[in-house]
Amino acid sequence: MLVLGNLWRPLTFKLSRLLYITTFCMICAPSWAQQEQLYLRKGPGSSFPVIFEVSSTEQLQPLYLQGEWLLLSNGRRQGWLPVREVPESSGLSRAQLWYLNDALRPGDWHVQGGWNSETALQVGISYPLDRYRLAARYTRSDAGEQAWQSAELGFEHLFSRYSGWSLQGFAGLGLGLNEEGSRRWDEQGRETSTAIFTLSGDVIWPLETRLDLRLRLQASQALGADQSAHTAIALIWNLSL
């Protein structure tokens, strides 16, 4: 009995220690599993190097939001993290997280600018109306003595969207102004104005969340003056505000 008693004591001690460790692991393991490492970078871009890492449960202070990147500080160091990777457990309030996600959403207004094969500068603005976008465009060419300008109002419609690009059309009516010396809408080069009808199609490549590049094929028909038709190819940058 004495021998059994001497064996029983270390056995129960080891068993109780094992029980403690198992219980500790069962309690702590889920919280360990939820922890992730956040890699903070030196600048607001994925090409800047990672400068330090913190646990996703570490309390972080937001300093600046620039585009889709947030500058965070843990009190000792600071680094940039994509807003989409900011965890809910990082110490930011619900209002701050809502604000950050809302800031990523592209706005309704679009502004665009570019130039076309007729050496004309094109600018435009559009706003969504149900399934269409109401768009206003202005084009001006002042190359040498061939100055002319046009302004159009119409609707844009997104026809199809693919993985890396999409197709959009535009139809609009407007006014063309032929300045003296230009033969765009008057063969004699006289100053004149005419109503115009324009159709265009855009091939759209997204460059960033808020910015896309468009290759525009357009045709406009003068409804007055010499009733001439003009076609052009344009390269347009479009920005969501």
Binding site: G43, I51, L70, A95, E208, T209
Partner: protein, 201 residues
């Protein structure tokens, strides 16, 4: 004593008023509390000097201001205004007609887009490092020279050192203007290099 009795009698009325069943919602204000505010950066602005080397004219120093609006991680929109002397001496043709008056100015207003194709960090002392980027910029605008003007186009490469509150950049740009008066004199093209300094907004 009678005031005390009045007060005691009015107490139940007060408590009834507090427990009214008319719903009185607490006013909540959307947005961030003052202490939760997160500053947002939309772009940067700066001033700079540049040395211009113009075809068939002597070199000169230009002053410029610029603003960049961050459209994303690498793309930005760019606007710039530049003020520079154009020529010192008068230029006449063979028949004595003045083609270029003395002391004309060349002022440029241009806008465009930039793309940062290289990004990294640089350290000056081994302890602190700063992010930098190299961007290519396309510019289109108008150059006003004396009494004439023409479309200005430029292609630039810019190395930008990005501090927390300030930035510093060096730039090399090739440009041309389609001003027919300058084109006839073959003084409508050139290159410039310069340094700019600025902050964020």
């Amino acid at each position: 004593m009678k005031y005390l009795i009045l007060c005691l009698l009015s107490l139940p009325l007060l408590s009834v008023a507090e427990t009214t069943d008319i719903y009185q919602p607490r006013i909540k204000v959307a947005g961030l509390e003052q202490s939760e505010n997160i500053s947002r950066r939309y772009g940067s602005w700066g001033i700079g000097v540049a040395q211009q080397a113009q075809d068939n004219l002597s070199g000169r120093t230009a002053l410029n201001i610029s603003a960049r609006w961050f459209a994303g991680e690498r793309w930005y929109l760019l606007g710039t205004a530049q003020y520079a002397p154009f020529n010192r001496d008068e230029i006449r043709n063979g028949s004595g007609q003045v083609l270029l008056e003395s002391g004309e100015q060349a002022n440029v207003l241009a806008g465009g887009a930039g793309y940062a194709f290289l990004q990294g960090t640089a350290s000056l002392n081994g302890h602190m490092s700063y992010p930098w980027q190299v961007a290519v910029e396309g510019l289109l605008g108008e150059q006003y020279t004396g009494d004439s003007s023409g479309r200005y186009s430029g292609l630039a490469f810019s190395w930008q050192l990005l501090g927390d509150d300030y930035w510093l950049a060096t730039e090399w740009r090739t440009y041309q203007s389609d001003d027919s008066r300058l084109d006839k004199l073959n003084v409508n093209k050139g290159v410039q290099w310069g340094i700019s300094f600025g902050s964020y907004f």
